[in-house]
Point group: C2
Chain length 345, copies 2
Amino acid sequence: MDWTCPLPLQDYPGIVIGHGGGGKLSAELVEHMFLPAFRNDALESLGDSSVLAMPAGRLAFSTDSFVVKPLFFPGGSIGDLAVNGTVNDISMSGARPVYLSAGFIIEEGFSMSSLAQIVQRMAQAAEKAGVQIVTGDTKVVEKGHGDGCYINTAGIGIMPHGLHIGPALAQPGDVVIVSGTIGDHGMAIMSVRESLEFETTIESDCAALNSLVEAMLEVSRDIHVLRDPTRGGVASSLNEIAGQSKVGIMIDETKIPVKSDVHSACELLGMDPIYVANEGKLIAIVAPSAADAVLARMRAQPLGSEAQIIGTVTSKHPGMLVAKTGIGGTRVIPMQIGEQLPRIC
Amino acid sequence: MDWTCPLPLQDYPGIVIGHGGGGKLSAELVEHMFLPAFRNDALESLGDSSVLAMPAGRLAFSTDSFVVKPLFFPGGSIGDLAVNGTVNDISMSGARPVYLSAGFIIEEGFSMSSLAQIVQRMAQAAEKAGVQIVTGDTKVVEKGHGDGCYINTAGIGIMPHGLHIGPALAQPGDVVIVSGTIGDHGMAIMSVRESLEFETTIESDCAALNSLVEAMLEVSRDIHVLRDPTRGGVASSLNEIAGQSKVGIMIDETKIPVKSDVHSACELLGMDPIYVANEGKLIAIVAPSAADAVLARMRAQPLGSEAQIIGTVTSKHPGMLVAKTGIGGTRVIPMQIGEQLPRIC
């Protein structure tokens, strides 16, 4: 990272309570860390809120807090996650994300240079995704009342006219597509936490999916549901869709792409990749007439090159997710009760 | 509070890690606590983001995280603060707040009924302010890595056509108005923390200011700056405005309304009310021709009944806030360095 601590921050190798106090120290943090990283006109107006031009019509609005542990992991950091997570939540309604907010809750004593790295990664992720961070807030809590740095982002996207995508819109006959290998993010985090060693490092798939969604919508608007299977993984997302759409979903387990080292890590830890979090994958539920074209377009994109059709929507067993297993049987895949991987995002 | 724990939550008197896991427990918390409290169509669609109709034009976008300690205090709670704080930030651009997001970071073991009380107070505050909480997120962190409950809200407001209000727009000759007594919120928190006893309980002024702003804008659009003096108080807000507008601000200390028990508490703790946080007050910087009409209209509103003209904007000493003191002298009121009251909001 090329960040060097600017003069007014140099007296503070770690965050102090006053950096969240709304006084001179807060102002210095904003002026010398946040503004240079996120630079844009709306942010620089430094009002209590940012004023933004928007076209008439509908917008998408979403929020997510990030408490991932560790803060830096192979393939990403809490900063990348905080930007991409909200970009993706907005993209899953079919909207084009444009503006983000960023709220930091920082623990007293947190390293100033780690914060700078996180902020720089947020800025890079925002630039890559084509969104602007236009408003923010920083609070500092006493040592022992946080865990380094928590970040909330909220985001605004512009909805294309006449487009309707939502978790209650799956229809019997629809095709279920996943955009690539599953479980990468969760197992990247777990292999760091558990110090697992494999031949290769498992990297998080953390990425902004808005460009992929845009490409998909160019070939067809018969996309009924989009969902990024984060916490709870593909299993939870499909269960929620089955419940909200009042349909059954039947998937073929052998069709679900899983990287071999992710598979090994899951076996070692007794986990099922279908429940493991992803941060750069989406599930699309698409009208059967559009499925081939959408799949082909996804595969032509870097973020969808390993996309697969993994199942279909059925009027049978409404509310339930059922899988054909590798050995020719079927099993019900329930919603998980709690959490197998705490603080994954 | 009339909240009774619904059946699916009854097995959990306290929050467990799984309530933030994106599985069944998360879904139960959403279905049985958040949805009944915040009920609206956008939230109930349960998508990754909410889709909202908006008119063409400009919108205001703002975010704030709340880490106040204690979570409940005379006159409010973190829930009221989280709603009113963001409503106010949006109102300070002259926009009409309409939608909020809510992101919870909850510590494992936090009381389910306290969470329910906070959520209910958020719902009441939102209803009172006329805004909807349309999207949300819940994360749970392990015991010892939080402090009960942190809340982030972000908000969207609709900007009236052609209106321009901002901290860089103060002009020499403008009049500085404060909407009522200052320091109430900060001293309400401090008197609980320090177990101070006065004849009356000092109550937070926590309130949504959008109705007051709307009334003010009805009588004049010659309002150049609006600011809610939260962290750092009136002193920090006026210093920031002086800096951003490149003007001087001269105030008359004897004109600033302070409640007598707030004054006493400040004396006892060695604090200056001008640096103490407010959560239901605003500063308006208004063209001299409009000042009397705006002041009269403020005084006709419950939230502005004690409004006062406290000073003027000058081309002298740009960037500085100067006060005439009670004994006839003048003093510079600088930006405070750090924080005199940590975790005040």
